[in-house]
């Protein structure tokens, strides 16, 4: 009984974290399929990521980008196939950080920016304990890295869209996450806010965090990311922007909802998403 109490205090009871296999890729998916009410949301997706890679996930609305992230985070279980983080199933890891789309968050919730960042440290604090001064230091450090030190005491709804995304990036830093999944962090942001979020994401790379970001802006994806995944239920292509952004792949992914414009330096692709690109009303 005493032993159980001690383990509970240490936070180890019922929380057996899987050890990382050193030679395994940080993330490996093999023939992963997810069905929603008899239609495939993800179909036979296979790929792997090495530590420190940055991948932009692009594809039309309903392509399964959010589903892919949730499967990796272990929130939904694949109907078929295997997901492995460092050689183990997602169930045993606290090193994954999933950041939902902004529309999924209750911004009126009565918490401060620092409170949210502190949430990332909960598994490190352990049950029945309050955050130590060292935990608060980690939170301050993370907020400083994303440039939000001055706003730490604000209620989260008082932040701008870009600041809100940076707050979540700080939470991943405080969590000491190794793999971060960000679902459309740039949707609904103006250009300066986008820049600030992209800058904060660079901070993650400096901390050797592996990054998967879903986005709509193909131009930005090809400029900022060296690896692109083109998804529409199944994986159409994955590789460098030059390898992925080919006319046949894009046509297949966007099923005709994309226009190609001939230019002097080559061809330009424009996604036809003006009417449905922002279904959640955050345009």
């Amino acid at each position: 009984m005493v032993d159980v109490l001690r383990r509970f205090r240490q936070g180890s009871l019922g929380r057996h974290y899987a050890a990382h296999q050193p030679d395994a890729p940080i993330l490996a998916l093999e023939n992963v399929s997810v069905d929603y009410e008899n239609s495939a949301a993800l179909d036979q997706v296979t790929f792997d990521l090495q530590a420190g890679e940055r991948v932009a996930v692009v594809g039309p609305n309903g392509a399964g980008k959010s589903t892919l992230f949730k499967v990796i985070a272990g929130v939904i279980h694949p109907d078929e196939g295997i997901v492995q983080i460092y050689g183990h199933e997602p169930g045993g890891h606290v090193c994954i950080s999933y950041i939902p789309q902004r529309s999924q968050v209750d911004w009126r919730f009565p918490v401060t920016v620092a409170d949210v960042v502190m949430m990332g440290r909960i598994s490190k604090i352990g049950p029945l304990r309050i955050p130590s001064p060292a935990d608060w230091q980690e939170v301050e450090k993370a907020l400083h890295l994303v440039g939000l030190s001055d706003l730490s005491g604000r209620q989260i709804g008082e932040l701008s869209g870009g600041q809100q995304q940076r707050m979540f990036i700080a939470r991943s830093l405080a969590q000491e996450a190794k793999l971060m999944l960000m679902d459309e962090p740039l949707t609904g942001l103006d250009v300066p806010s986008r820049e600030s979020v992209m800058g904060a994401l660079d901070t993650l790379t400096e901390n050797e965090v592996t990054l998967m970001v879903s986005m709509h802006d193909l131009q930005l994806a090809s400029e900022k990311y060296d690896r692109i995944m083109l998804l529409n239920k199944h994986m159409i292509a994955m590789g460098s922007p030059e390898e992925v952004f080919k006319k046949e792949y894009l046509s297949e992914a966007y099923e005709g909802r994309i226009h190609f414009i001939e230019g002097e330096t080559g061809e330009m692709a424009l996604e036809d998403s003006c009417c449905e690109g922002d279904r959640n009303g955050m345009a």
Partner: protein, 283 residues
Amino acid sequence: MEWLEIILEPFRYPFMVRGLIASVLAGVVSATVGTYVVLRGMAFFGSALAHSILPGVAVGYLLTGGAKTPLFWWGTGTAIAASLGIGAISRGAKIKEDTAISIIFSGMFALGIAIISTVQSYTVDLTHFLFGDVLGVSTRQVWLIAVFGALIVFLVLAFYKEFLVLTFDPVLATTLRIPRGFFEYFQLVLIALTIAVSLQTVGVALMVAMLVTPAASAYLLTRRLPVMMALGAALASISGVVGLYVSYYLNVASGPAIVLTATAFFGLSWVVRTVRSRANKGA
């Protein structure tokens, strides 16, 4: 009559003193737990749960001939069973959650009334179960309310971090390996215990007001969770005391008087909030 006399007059009666203590305690407990009920949008669940315990209380009433202390245990037992039952049904139901909950709670409520109606003098007792009888509370019951209330508040504070993450970001709770299913049922049991503790003050039909109204008033006035809990508890306690005075001097039933006072505070909070946000916009 002097003001002091008006305030002290009810204290001449031991039943008033017991009633005041009981309603202050129940107020603190309900508002603390109610904070999460409001933030998670569980008001309907709370209302349904309160109604569902009537058959348990009714059976206890028949078996014990209306003794007060056994009724507390019957109420507590039924509340826990009903919370777990409704929790399981709403998870596994083939129909919409609110439909499933409605069917169960109205059926249980009808069963309770049917059982009580087999007793000759049932109308008086039924009224007490439905709308509360805080002035009929015994010393032993006050002790039970105090002990259970302290336990509930302790548990809410002890698992503050876990409940906070679970409410704000369930996906983060999953990725951080917080046992989500366990804490969800834990929370339901806490709500059940709160209902049992507060049953005597406002009864099953008005119970949801104790869970929701003070916490919602506090939500309008603050953007900090701990402040919301404390302010909600204060408003609920004051509502209990003011309600009992209103009941004493105007000869109104105590349960409705307490609820109406809490409702008035909500209206006042709404006005304060509106005036404050107009002032902010003007500034």
